[in-house]
Symmetry: C2
Subunit: 417 residues, 2 copies
């Protein structure tokens, strides 16, 4: 039983100098995995023709598939075309058809065609050109050693459609699969990684099949079950049995299986049930509303969000009594409740959630330290508040953790039908 | 002239299965670069002891420094301790002092000590234990081949302080530098990558010194100048000469050198000058306010943000006339101006910026397609509006691009002293 292996290579000086984060490789890996490939590794390189050429040769001896992103732009630091040609042992050649397509892209978008863009019409001899409907840089496909190599542009908006339209269909038809792999994902909130491990017991043993892995991020646990079988059906059956046990054991904390984002889980439930919601935020400063409004169509149930960063704004926009603020402080049970109630009443929404806390780095006291956050939830006609003390480090992490917590609290508080 | 090279390794099934993105390697690379190391590559692996052990041996033959993140947790999929021990050719051994420190961390934070956490007190024999003040997983330092290896935990809030306190000081004192490297960064807005390349000309040649690289993300261009010299002073001088030319040529678009985030550049200017600002958002749904409120201390100049997702909310919260909305539509010059003016008037802020657009995927028409966004800017007593049509793909990208554009428009509109 052996599953074909794949590697993902990302190139760019901006990546290895730390000026940008490689998100492409993760996106590609997720789709390759779902298509039956085990991901052997990611390699991230600078714009270095030698390093990329030798890496491709090395990976070509060990993997069935290599996907490279980046280095297809118009500038001289875009070396993927020449590095791939060296690894393939061929010359670069100009494609007139591709040059025409690039020129017409610029014309269609009313943008000036820069002389540098001509570089984008050169490809390793014998490679297959992969059209890029979203941008100026075509990709290409070829072979190095035992591996099929696909080169795609770096911008995710261009890379993703090409992965879906050009790469995955070629892979599905091209490689005979020996052995099957099946993957299940669960997303949980409200549980620490250590307690998760204790509850999981031997499911997390390295030899277990399915293999259970977990990672924690800002309160969200992502658990992955990876089942191997003699073929795909066998792997699916092994996965299904453990997944059922997993669901039973962790029912209290699982919020999603297909969806890792609490905002999308909550947003879709609000939309499906026609429940209107409003938000009132202090320390998160709009982050909660921004998370919710990532959901397409959410305008049907989300009308407004209040970012009330000062006491005065809380009073003027949400009707929080100045006296309440003076007596209990902005970060308190009383103010959290008043913010949620005010948001619901003033917007006319059935539900509302509020956040008021101390995100730091300044503003903490012994009684109210950095990381203390109060949440107000108005749902089913009642208003209540909950306190959390986030031990995570840094203003951003506290704000993101708080937004996740608010989404989870509201999700749990929605009136049952 | 040779600069010591470093590699960064990230481990975790969540990374190679695409469930999470490796942000640690970029953060580490940026700091290693600033400390005089050239980053050779990142390698991202699953929780696979064999692959990690052989990767460490391979990199140990080529690099002076290897930093590994992840795999130090309490669960059985945390294999960094055992893989590093194999690569070092030593056994694992339990540290009673470290176990005590871990137990006391749990006690101090009022959390239950899970049996699994004992695993975190085992280390490769002879390695140096690196204390983790922010969490339960200590790191360690040792040697594989010619490289010094540092293993740090995966959560960034724990990894970053350990990198700063434990790793970088050891590197500064430990390795003689031959040759110098100096890096300069510039962040620009409002310029395409192709035009940037044409304006840059031979500065981007691969053999140029300094070497100029560029990457574009949501309208922000990040340009890196990397100068090599016979020693650090020489590299600094080579960099300084080109940096001065670069500043002159791109003055119109450069918004930052030390800071890549438009929100921080704008926020710090608002704070320094005591200019109060308010935001009014439709399609970005709070993203602009969330970006601004990432800036510590911004409450001195930011009092509130209006997330007005419906026509009704625009009228009730910002005073936009229903008639104006009916005649021109919510995505229009007139409404963008009315939103900005309303936000300034109702909040009492001197400046305000508004965003109203069509982020998609639905809602577009031939006259007002997805990607059309109007911005209103109120500053210096005047209100004006600007239109942009974003050719980027996807709701998230349009929203992020729009937030960046609003920050840049306001930055340019601030009254000159």
């Amino acid at each position: 039983m052996s599953v074909p292996s794949a590697a993902v290579v990302a190139t760019g000086d901006e990546l290895v100098t730390g000026a940008a984060v490689d998100t492409n490789s993760a996106a590609i890996a997720a789709r390759l995995l779902e298509n039956g490939f085990r991901i052997e590794r990611f390699v991230v390189l600078g714009d270095d023709e030698d390093a990329l050429a030798s890496t491709l040769v090395d990976l070509g001896a060990r993997c069935a598939v290599i996907v490279v992103t980046g280095g297809l732009g118009p500038t001289l630091d875009d070396v993927t075309r020449s590095a791939a040609a060296r690894a393939m042992g061929v010359e670069l050649t100009k494609s007139e058809a591709s040059l025409e397509a690039i020129r017409s892209w610029f014309a269609r978008h009313g943008r000036p065609f820069a002389a540098s863009n001509e570089r984008q019409a050169w490809f390793p001899l014998g490679s297959e050109i992969l059209p890029n409907p979203m941008g100026t840089a075509p990709g290409f496909a070829g072979r190095v050693g035992g591996a099929r190599v696909f080169a795609l542009p770096g911008p995710p908006g261009e890379m993703v459609p090409m992965l879906e339209r050009e790469v995955l269909p070629r892979l599905r038809s091209g490689i005979p699969l020996e052995g099957g792999l099946s993957v299940g994902r669960f997303f949980l909130f409200g549980l620490s990684e250590g307690v998760f491990a204790d509850l999981s017991g031997a499911w997390m043993d390295r030899g277990a099949n399915p293999l259970l892995g977990v990672t924690a991020k800002l309160g969200v646990l992502s658990a992955t079950l990876l089942a191997s079988g003699s073929d795909e059906r066998d792997a699916d059956a092994i996965l299904a049995a453990r997944a059922a046990e997993f669901r039973a054991r962790f029912a209290e904390w699982i919020f999603g299986e297909a969806e890792a984002d609490l905002a999308f889980v909550l947003g879709r439930e609000l939309l499906a049930r026609g429940i209107a919601v409003a938000t009132a935020e202090s320390c998160t400063g709009g982050l909660l509303a921004a998370r919710l409004t990532r959901v397409p169509g959410i305008s049907a149930v989300f009308d407004r969000g209040y970012v009330t960063y000062s006491d005065r704004a809380k009073t003027q926009l949400l009707g929080v009594e100045p006296d309440l603020l003076a007596r209990h402080g902005a970060v308190s049970r009383e103010v959290a409740e008043a913010m949620a109630l005010g948001a619901a009443q003033r917007s006319g929404a059935l539900c509302a959630v509020s956040i008021t806390g101390i995100a730091g780095p300044g503003g903490g006291t012994p009684e109210k330290p950095v990381g203390l956050v109060w949440f107000g939830v108005h749902a089913g006609g009642a208003t209540r508040a909950e306190e959390r003390r986030f031990a995570v480090r840094g203003r951003d992490a506290i704000r993101e953790f708080a937004a996740n917590t608010a989404l989870d609290l509201l999700r749990r508080a929605l009136p049952r039908d």
